[in-house]
């Protein structure tokens, strides 16, 4: 079983987000970026599948700042191969990213592509189902509990309120992973350094994205805030509120 996991970096949302001078996108030059946490779950699930039923895991990322660190970290966690896609824009919209990835998956070959279910900047849709459509494979969002068997995969699709459905799909397929079966593993810096000296990242030239439907950005702005919360000064103030509400 060949599993491909595309990895994307997203802004660390704990930090202040700066808007670029264009007023249409974030200022990626100054942002602190980190691996999309859902992609981390997709990678973990791929590694879990490999460890329980065998297979080969390939981490893929579009060339850009820190991409080597992301890919070496994936190798340190247990991925078998790391591939950097060159000549594409890591901040492109999801339709373009999906086109580029569809080309890469076609060249690399895969039975299963695991993508994080969503990403913080999903303005024009979600990567997983777009990629599935461009590959003409079945694609399902918000999944967990993946169990491969033969050329098939059983999985759960999560709905609201904790309701789930069980499906079975003939591979190949693309899954938008909500959560891995275990907390995504951590690769110590020493391990990543060691991998850097021994492992190699392969390069793959991006295929032309071709025609994608474009919804142009008109503006980006922080939401207009309402009155907001009454700000308290101390824990004692919280207790005062709890007293007023009859909790204590």
């Amino acid at each position: 079983m060949k599993i491909v996991v595309p990895l994307n970096q997203v802004p660390d949302l704990v930090e202040d987000l700066e808007i670029a001078d264009s007023g249409k996108e974030l200022d990626f030059e100054v942002l602190k970026m980190k691996l999309n946490e859902f992609d981390d779950h997709a990678l973990e699930e791929a590694l879990q599948i490999k460890e329980s039923s065998g297979g080969e895991v390939t981490a893929v990322a579009v060339d850009g700042p820190e991409v080597d660190k992301v890919l070496f970290t994936a190798l340190a966690k247990g991925a078998d191969k790391a591939v950097k896609i060159t000549g594409a824009n890591p901040h492109a919209d999801n339709h373009t990213q999906a086109r580029v990835l569809a080309g890469a998956v076609g060249q690399l070959g895969a039975d299963l592509v695991l993508v994080g279910v969503q990403s913080a900047g999903d303005r024009d849709g979600q990567l997983g189902p777009l990629l599935a459509a461009y590959l003409n494979w079945p694609g399902v969002c918000v999944v967990s509990g993946l169990k491969p068997e033969g050329g098939k995969l059983t999985f759960h699709k999560e709905y609201a309120g904790g309701l789930m459905a069980e499906f079975e799909v003939d591979l190949p397929a693309v899954m938008g992973v909500q959560a891995a079966r275990a907390t995504p593993r951590y690769a110590p810096v020493s391990k990543v350094r060691q991998v850097q000296t021994t492992a190699k990242i392969e390069s793959l030239a991006a295929a032309a994205a071709g025609d994608v439907p474009a919804a142009s950005v008109e503006k980006m702005e922080p939401p207009v805030k309402g009155a907001g919360a009454k700000m308290l000064k101390s824990a004692a103030d919280i207790i005062q509120v709890l007293k007023e509400k009859g909790v204590v």
Binding site: D124, G125, Q126, P129, E158, A179, P213, A235
Partner: protein, 314 residues
């Protein structure tokens, strides 16, 4: 041209709340594009159609009653190919994400996701997407041709979209059965030891708690307050607490008298599940965290320091 098609969502034999919210969005948009509102009901029942009175028309597509991404996507595509509406609207939900993205890619229709507002001006459709954990709103121009939008939950009240009485019905044919993807069964939510939807007081923990062992801090505070502990999605996905304690989009909706949010930033998916709580108190280290916009009371600080001080005083 100019019509707005709403993909009516149903789950467990009932129309989803999102369906009625979309009918409200669609009505406002249809005025702007000079068309009517059509609900597309795939695999639905007569009882569901009878609740879609806020639409001008319903197109019924025959399909298995339980949602199958491939079957439903093919059924939707056939309707869109035949009728060529200007805007196809789905929920930014588990089902809607499958269907909207597939349609956008296959029919080369521009798409905007997680929209708070969709409007028309000068012949073009404009949509405001809620992105980056609710910290940025981005307006897209989807042009004057056919396009797809997914709507974020809770941007409008569903009440305006609830109108009994089936609208005029049209046969949308039969969705081609999926060949590679098979629905097996529905799995009802696991019953937890505590039903967080019936609690008066909830102490909810988020990513700020940092590690599994430290959830104990919240448990101790909850015991003192005779409250139950709930959590946001990252805590559940990490396997630190059971799914029955999850508040938000893929978890439960709660309305306690007091909701104490500890280390929860307030991503839109979480707010969807708790913003109707009578009193919300939030503690977070990030003064710009979106949770402070819906909270009634806020405290900028480290949750461990705050909880420790509270325990000392209680």
């Amino acid at each position: 041209m100019g019509d707005v098609y709403v993909v009516a969502e149903h789950l467990n034999g009932e129309l989803a709340e999102m369906t009625f919210e979309m009918l409200v969005h669609a009505r406002g948009l249809a005025g702007g594009v000079g068309g009517s509102v059509t609900a597309v009901l795939i695999g639905g029942t007569d009882a569901m159609a009878a609740k879609l009175g806020a639409a001008d028309k319903v197109i019924r597509v025959a399909a298995e009653a339980d949602y199958n991404p491939d079957t439903y996507a093919a059924g939707l595509k056939a309707v869109v190919d035949a009728k060529k509406p200007q805007v196809v609207m789905a929920g930014n939900t588990s089902q809607g994400m499958d269907l909207a993205n597939a349609l956008s890619a296959r029919n080369n229709m521009p798409m905007a996701a997680a929209c708070l507002k969709v409007s028309a001006a000068g012949g073009n459709v404009h949509a405001v997407s809620q992105l980056y954990g609710g910290k940025m709103n981005v307006t897209s121009n989807l042009g004057s041709g056919p396009c797809v939008v997914t709507v974020a939950a809770g941007a409008v009240s569903a009440d305006g979209g609830r109108k009994d009485g089936a609208p005029a019905s049209e046969d949308g044919g039969k969705a081609p059965a999926a060949t590679k993807l098979r629905f097996k069964k529905l799995i009802q939510p696991e019953k937890g030891d505590v039903d967080i939807t019936t609690q008066d007081v909830l102490v909810a923990v988020g990513r700020g708690i940092g590690k599994k062992e430290d959830i104990e801090v919240a448990v101790e505070l909850a015991d003192k307050l005779k409250a139950a502990v709930a959590a946001s999605r990252p805590i559940i996905d990490a396997g630190w607490m059971p799914k029955s304690r999850q508040v938000g989009k893929s978890g439960l909706k709660v309305k306690p008298k007091v909701y104490l949010a500890l280390g929860i930033s307030g991503a839109p998916e979480h707010l969807e599940g708790m913003k109707n709580s009578a009193t919300i108190i939030a503690v977070n280290t990030d003064k710009n965290a979106p949770i402070f916009d819906v909270a009634h009371y806020g405290l900028v600080g480290d949750l461990f320091d705050v909880v420790e001080e509270m325990m000392d005083e209680l």
